[in-house]
Symmetry: D2
């Protein structure tokens, strides 16, 4: 496969990120099929046209079904609101297209399962936008865990906290419309749950406190009329991993001051790792058992020794950014398609993550431990 046709649905925050990633992927990953940017769709015709120009797609359309039907397209990227994912994904799958869908798959577990089954039945490759784990340093972290370099794992403390909803005067938006699914536990929680699973494997059981802190918000910016909030602002979760260790996970979108507090402290009997997306090019590593007077956490800086950093830059210390992580994600997806397999996280993995989300919500309601 020398070339692969791409169709993009949606032109917002994630639409642009997908576009930049597809445009850059081959430059950083010479062995993948060359992505051909065939068409972009947006309900707003003008937005679609502008996006086609700006991102370099050959054509624009306001009809996503036409995009899916386009025979030049083998890959469909879905970046529309959550509630539209299912219909689009099922249509693309039915047309035999490989599908990248932004997270979360859908507002409900049942819908997500339908999507998983459809994709698996049709045999297409899928991917879901858990971009942060594409970081070369997280690949290193996982390798170290798997190779036993940290010894038996004894704990995990994961957080994804930001503050875009911290102000009680921030108005009601689509983010907190319950028809889109849960609140922060789906929006940010899915990232840190996915990261925990990426590093340590399945989460078997949870006990959670999932709550709405700001109980009502103005119907619009500056409005005096208030509307009750039904989705969660904070989720605090005790977790039991399948491998035996325990941990905590927190998702929070009212964490005043934090713009990207996504990270973890992962501890084993022989070593520990500390990571925060706030400094995504650094990984702290403590190795037990060395010379006492020299011991401490070592700040590893990302470099070409950490694959696939070298595809972006031959010299260490130059640093990757968010869009580079998205590029890795898309390049791996396209590379996987060429080999006939999803590189993950695929629809199945996204569904497993969503199961943890749902278990946490149920646990909070029932106020006890719930098996995932």
């Amino acid at each position: 496969m020398k070339e692969i046709g791409i169709g993009l649905i949606g032109t917002g925050f994630m639409g642009k990120a997908h576009a930049i990633a597809y445009r850059t992927a081959l430059s950083a990953f010479p062995d993948i099929p060359a992505p051909r940017l065939v068409a972009v769709a947006d309900v707003n015709t003008e937005a679609a046209r502008k996006a086609a120009h700006q991102y370099g797609f050959e054509s624009a359309t306001s009809d996503w079904k036409a995009l899916i039907a386009n025979p030049a397209i083998q890959v469909v990227s879905i970046t529309t609101p959550n509630s539209m994912h299912k219909e689009m994904a099922l249509a693309a799958i039915a047309a035999g297209k490989h599908v990248h869908c932004e997270k979360p798959l859908s507002p409900t577990l049942a819908d997500s399962l339908d999507m998983v089954k459809a994709a698996e039945a049709r045999g297409v490759c899928t991917q879901v936008g858990f971009n942060y784990i594409k970081n070369p340093l997280l690949k290193l972290a996982r390798q170290m865990v798997e190779a036993g370099e940290l010894g038996e794992i004894t704990g995990f403390r994961g957080i994804h906290a930001e503050d875009y909803m911290h102000d009680p005067q921030s108005p009601w938006t689509w983010r907190i419309d319950p028809s889109g699914g849960p609140g922060v536990i789906a929006d940010l929680g899915s990232h840190i749950i996915g990261m925990a699973r990426f590093l340590l494997g399945e989460i078997a059981e949870v006990s959670a406190d999932v709550r709405t802190v700001i109980k009502q918000r103005p119907v619009a910016r500056g409005a005096s009329e208030m509307k009750p909030v039904e989705v969660d602002d904070v989720a605090r979760i005790l977790v039991q991993f399948g491998r035996g260790c325990g941990g905590t996970i927190e998702a929070n979108w009212i964490q005043t001051g934090r713009k990207m507090q996504l990270g973890f402290e992962l501890t084993g009997e022989k070593g520990s790792l500390v990571f925060t997306q706030e400094r995504l090019n650094e990984l702290l590593y403590y190795k037990a058992g060395g010379e006492a007077r020299h011991m401490g956490f070592t700040r590893i800086e990302s470099g070409p020794q950490h694959e696939p950093y070298g595809g972006f830059c031959v010299a260490g210390g130059h640093q990757l950014g968010f869009n580079d992580l998205k590029t890795i994600e898309m390049a791996e997806f396209l590379g996987g398609i060429a080999k006939g397999k999803s590189t993950g996280p695929d629809f199945r993995e996204a569904y497993e993550i969503q199961k943890v989300v749902e278990a946490a919500i149920a646990s909070s309601q029932q106020r006890n431990w719930i098996k995932v």
Copy 2:
């Protein structure tokens, strides 16, 4: 009151810390009664004698009861193993002495309550060794919470993690003898629970996972014979504060690489504070609502503008150390005695902290939420 006689029981880690603190207190706090170091007691006569010389006590004894009976002594500091606290404290109280006791008060809640009641009945001043909250920056943090500078508080994430038990080959010691009470949740957990209460007030309810990770340890260093461990290595707790907000608290003594990870992230609608004892002279403060392009967390460095730093040094940036925190603790205790009241944390507060510890243990056993 111009002078106050001190008797110290125990000459180990905390015994020395108390001695240094009493020796330094008047230099940093000119208005307190001058501590007179009257006597030091240790079951080991030679240790007592050495301590008297080294720390400058007028006399040494192997008989703690004689020390308590000494009429020149008004204050008794108890730094012996937990299981001995009660008998000594009750004797000192009975003799009308003011009592400083290291934490935890005693291995069981019932014994601790006896100690509280005895002290309150007799009307003596008491203090328990929760030294970390004596930090000038923690006093600032509490003032900011109380003054509403952070707005409505929406979350607290507290941790006290160290690694002195992380190695499975670390042998069985008194620390893990269940006759001394719970494990890390009492040893380190009490510090972070106390800090949470100091900052935000009472903890109303908990749901906890308290577990023994390393199930057995060698009976002695290098021994092949193993002995089962009965006390906890890690405690992870979901908390509900009386004031309404939620949070998490973790205590951990197998956190490989951490020597003093005691700290918190405390969030309100208008601002946040981040602290770690690893950098005890710094407090991070985020203030919402400023000029967007300049916003971020500000690293406040301890200085004379943060009382009582100025008693130690007139210039900022010079930094306090652990023993200085202990000095503040002792100076406040002595200053309180002169005014006839405990400055806290007193026996009552230590008991309240222990109630949270016990509730967490019960919650973990019953696997649900427990009211404190």
Copy 3:
């Protein structure tokens, strides 16, 4: 101007960086002319062909003169070794092409001046690859200096230190061939000198210590035969700015452990800024005169409030990487061309930077202060 034809000469480290930047520029900057990747040249035909495929150029050639002559090309990017810059740039200028040239312009001041004069005479736009100052946070820093937010500037401490030559066993390479010009003072020093000028304006006078620390290196990796090193490893410079304040600048490629220690501490009577490229999405800002108990350095995190971050991502905290800085550089260059002016740093500015380099070398030889 709706479209602009790009020709790239050279396909190494910087060649790839240019290509990715041109491919991404329009996505992040919708108002610039659309770059059309017309041709790429490399003396190695196969390398050129591969680059054309990987970076999406329409054609490949081993003849850079043919590339320059191509009428579909309006912009030529030169990323070949320093000693080849002049001939290529002069040819491109003669053909009326706008020229981007990697730094340094040429090995000698005289050659660089020829290039400046040719470009200015022909009226083409030029740009030189001082990418680090394209950081949104450095634009903020400059605005703050210019707006007087830091008050009268009283000092600047600048460093660009890395360690790629720290090992005495690192062999002789083109980097230390004196025909390519000076050593670290040109390679890294030009970046920090350019950054100093970007922030504070002209450097009037210097007193420098420029030295070769590792006096000889193996002729090849592992070889026992040694060859003397003639270029500098470290340059330490006292500087006097035209605006009146003093400072220091250091360039160092044997700074063991440092991969990208490029940064500064810039101090004024009313505030200070601290920056390091090691954490390129952060700027530390101290503002004098606030409430004493809350003062300290504030860690500003890059976000859409800092232009042109928002072109890459609508949400703060997501972070830019090195290639994004290069994209800003190229987008500004293309945007400037559309308006008929160089946005800088142009050839003239690169020449001014090189004058400081040469003055420092002369100062070190003469062991006194030298006017630039």
Copy 4:
């Protein structure tokens, strides 16, 4: 020698620091002679009396000569203004007393040399208050340099910058009275010069820019009358060490925002160390040659493995503060006296440091390199 009588002259900032240090020394260093706090002197009788009570001296006097004459005193600590050091020190030496004198020894090199000669002729032990190098982590740093763990040393970058004079409205004080000697280069510069010498040995040659930035100051706080400033605010120095490597040293008391930026980056062919007094319990260490994917700077936290930390606390991570460094200084001084030798930095070392200060000032005036 079981006991040693102490006399303290001066009761200000440093007077208190000496007192606390003497009071704590034996507790942390059991093998030194027990300091007996015999007398404290201050020209202000009331200040002397208060100090005696607060710091626990047996007596107070306004007559420093009487203090020196007191036969119960073997050690005299001088903490008065610089211009008074010489007379007091010479008197104490003449009386055969061991002398601790705060830095700088005296306002002029000639006076300091008189003091050195007198002390050496009389054979008393001396010490000067360069307290920061008493840090256990700096002892570790020096040991690593000496043991060759960093390989051949290739560079040193030292800074001592604070901001207590940064505001042009800060009035004229004794600090800037030229009768007290030079400005920041003596006050702070002597610390970092001393630290450089402690780590790397003698400084052979300097080229410096020593300047007065704020040319006049109000005669008093808020006054409109201005008085010219004659001493330096900033000193920037290129240095050549006797061992062969180069470096830079800066002293600055107008570094807005910095309260204690005293530190260095010290680089060798095999490793590097980074230290700042802002985090005095941490030392960053980079060791070249390890496994590439794990390399980086390791943050070493102070603990009992770093002597003499263990004298203060048996557990790592608890942290020393400024007064603890002063305690180490005094304990070493007393311990040295018991063995009949100065442990340093003694008067001779302080004089050598002052020679570097004077050479830098001369270099700045002559605008060229000066041999120390």
